[in-house]
Symmetry: C3
Subunit: 309 residues, 3 copies
């Protein structure tokens, strides 16, 4: 999330109720997660294991729970609870605004776009031209939808990320202030769920087609011209490159990359990044031919064990 | 889909903007997919590999991208792009009609049928007697629902088939003009998705019961008195015969047949037609006892490998 | 379900249209399923295999299809079809009341609770303070929701249990008259389905967090501070103890217990009760390390078979 204008370090320290180290006029432009931060961003870190990564990242303001030496050209915000104070930024800049009607007056809807009955469109949503939004679709605040997009009934764009900190008192939610961005010529089936980014965008690339009952988690980026079949789940912060085909009921963990033109056979499970241009199967996946060989071998295994006895 | 009346070959050639070969008054009655075509139907074919199958099918009008010899008693429509021109027929006979209200005035709803709030019912939908349609259900245009049917909240009947042609410019959608047909005494759980047929009907047979979050794809036919548990996906053009029981999270590929009274244990994956009257498990499935033997053998495998070393 | 007051055996025999054996003033307080019955409850049994279990259970009124000796301190209701007559009780005490508006006037909604547009709230629902119910959520009659609860769009609370008796004439539904109970500080993602109990409560414990597209079946009890990731299914009458973590696409059968602090890796399948405090993987699950050893062994199996030949 970028702030609506550049703030000073002092202003941000007041919003977060933290002490700052650095020039009080140091420019602060937005917040983001560690893997996508850039200059002007605030990043938070609350575990010594990740201090170094955060301090050396592209982020120029580090919200941290220890008074460390401030890296050159950067600034620090010192907090006893960076997670809580990062949430203060999200709540300040993107407070939850209860809806006043089913289709927010602040939503912008393009030409020749059809909105069927019982659709909810939140505040500041932008929908392009020549789209069809079918009945009973829900589009949370700030989602951005391109042109020539079809969204089938029951699909939910922009629910909160499933992202919690385990505290003795219970799970504490990281407030989501990111968006869902749907590019041109995307089709989304019925009853899908595409969560908003925590601080960035969950993105579905141009010309990609989703079947029904698909889960796309926060901050995941799906490339152009991909096909995803029903009941597939893609966890958060994962990158699916262009022209990837994923058959039904596949599961893909968070934070990995599926290479361009990869194909996943149905019911596959992917726990590590995989190269593009290949066909995969199984859980955990191997290349299709290897999986087929394993299956043939497993079929023979009971007989083999008998013989060995 | 049957046309509202019998058309002449010449009329259909005008709608499809194609050249015709045959008697200009040759009767044309509807469109359908290759596996269910009958006399009077148009079928399309755009790949030499399938020319013969299409020309020899029960369809009497073949929309094709080559000037072949016209089979006796049939007619041809010659097109440089049969997929595009087949879509012209669907769009002509079943154009998308945006809704004017949540429950279309053209919908017919039977006696003692309860429609709960926030339900969407599209144009020309027919619902029988003594049904309960729970809140937030979506029923697209032209769906047909029998008597004594219960549909739980969030379920979507009649979204488009997930069926695309891969073109260099992007995925091109085959327009769906079929229907969803729900027979008497069917119960459908919450948040299910049952897609309309591409040209035919997606059918749920009499007395069949579906749990929650189930995906049934286009043109699939499910028999009488089947049970399907939650998070199961059945792909397109598949036939599930009567009294089949499918436990949770199973996946079934397109174009196959599951025989009468077959039972699929949970999380099974079916990639080929299977005989009825048997119990199956695994992905891909084998008969239950074989799968159990394999699992026992796999448990012993690490120890076996140690010994062999 | 507890009746609104204590009834006499004679009154209950009139509602169920059955013959009674015992004191006509014997007190009857409610109905429940065999695994959770208590004194004053009616339990039904229609198969000789389960007669003994029912007669010896904590239930003090047994609805049964054979004139057996009445256990001391108990009463009997004699029926040719206990399933049908048990349904009579459910339909008498919890008849389906069609909604008169989207949010029932009998619903109680707490302070500072936000109800977004297009939400359905059924009769006698109770929602606590400081909740957010997002757009297009459906809450069936009699659900109870605590304080500080967030429910994301498209989620369905309280649809009927998937519970049928196989009769020659078709599947006969056991009428659900239980509830869904959501405790304080629970978050539920988008497009989840949580079914009501058949006679008892389906319960989500305090501080538990559910991701999107999750299925929780009837009468299941989930403990405090659990995490369930997307596309997981938990079947009916299962107990998930406190602080259990379940990753995506897991399946858990009915009637078992997952012990405290157990962790299930993604795509696991659980068919038997498992101990807490351990990490599990696979379908069917084994402990994580055992599963990892098996996978390594399977990778080597094709090569092994070649050598043995």
């Amino acid at each position: 999330m970028k702030f609506p204008k550049t703030y000073t370090l002092k202003e941000i320290s007041q919003i977060t109720q933290t002490e700052f180290i650095g020039d009080k006029n140091f420019p602060v432009k937005g917040i983001n997660e560690i893997h996508v931060v850039e200059s002007g961003d605030v990043v938070f870190v609350d575990h010594p294991k990740y201090y170094d990564k955060a301090l050396k990242s592209a982020a120029t303001v580090i919200l941290i729970n220890k008074k460390v030496d401030c890296p050159k050209g950067k600034a620090l915000l010192i907090s006893d609870d960076p997670f809580r104070d990062f949430n203060r930024l999200s709540n300040y800049f993107k407070p939850f605004e209860p809806a006043k009607q089913s289709i927010a007056t602040s939503a912008k809807i393009g030409k020749n776009t059809i909105i069927q009955p019982n659709v909810f469109i939140g505040n500041h949503v932008v929908i392009g031209d020549n789209c069809v939004i079918h009945a009973n679709v829900t589009i949370y605040d700030n989602c951005v939808i391109g042109n020539h997009v079809t969204i089938h009934s029951g699909t939910i764009l922009g629910a909160d990320a499933f992202y919690y900190k385990n505290r003795p008192t219970g799970y504490d939610k990281l407030v989501s202030c990111g968006r869902v961005v749907i590019k041109d010529h995307v089709d989304i089936g019925a009853n899908c769920t595409i969560d908003k980014g925590v601080t960035g965008d969950t993105t579905i690339g141009e010309g990609t087609k989703l079947d029904n009952l698909i889960q796309i988690a926060h901050d995941t980026v799906i490339g152009k011209k991909c096909l995803l079949a029903s009941l597939t789940a893609v966890a958060g912060c994962t990158v699916i490159e262009d022209e990837v085909t994923i058959w039904g009921q596949c599961g893909i963990v968070s934070g990995i990359t599926i290479g361009k033109k990869a194909v996943l056979m149905a019911q596959s499970g992917v726990s590590k990044s995989i190269e593009g241009g290949k066909v995969y199967w199984g859980s955990p996946v191997t290349e299709l031919r290897d999986r087929q060989r394993e299956l043939i071998a497993i079929r023979k295994l009971p007989e083999l064990l008998k013989k060995i006895k």
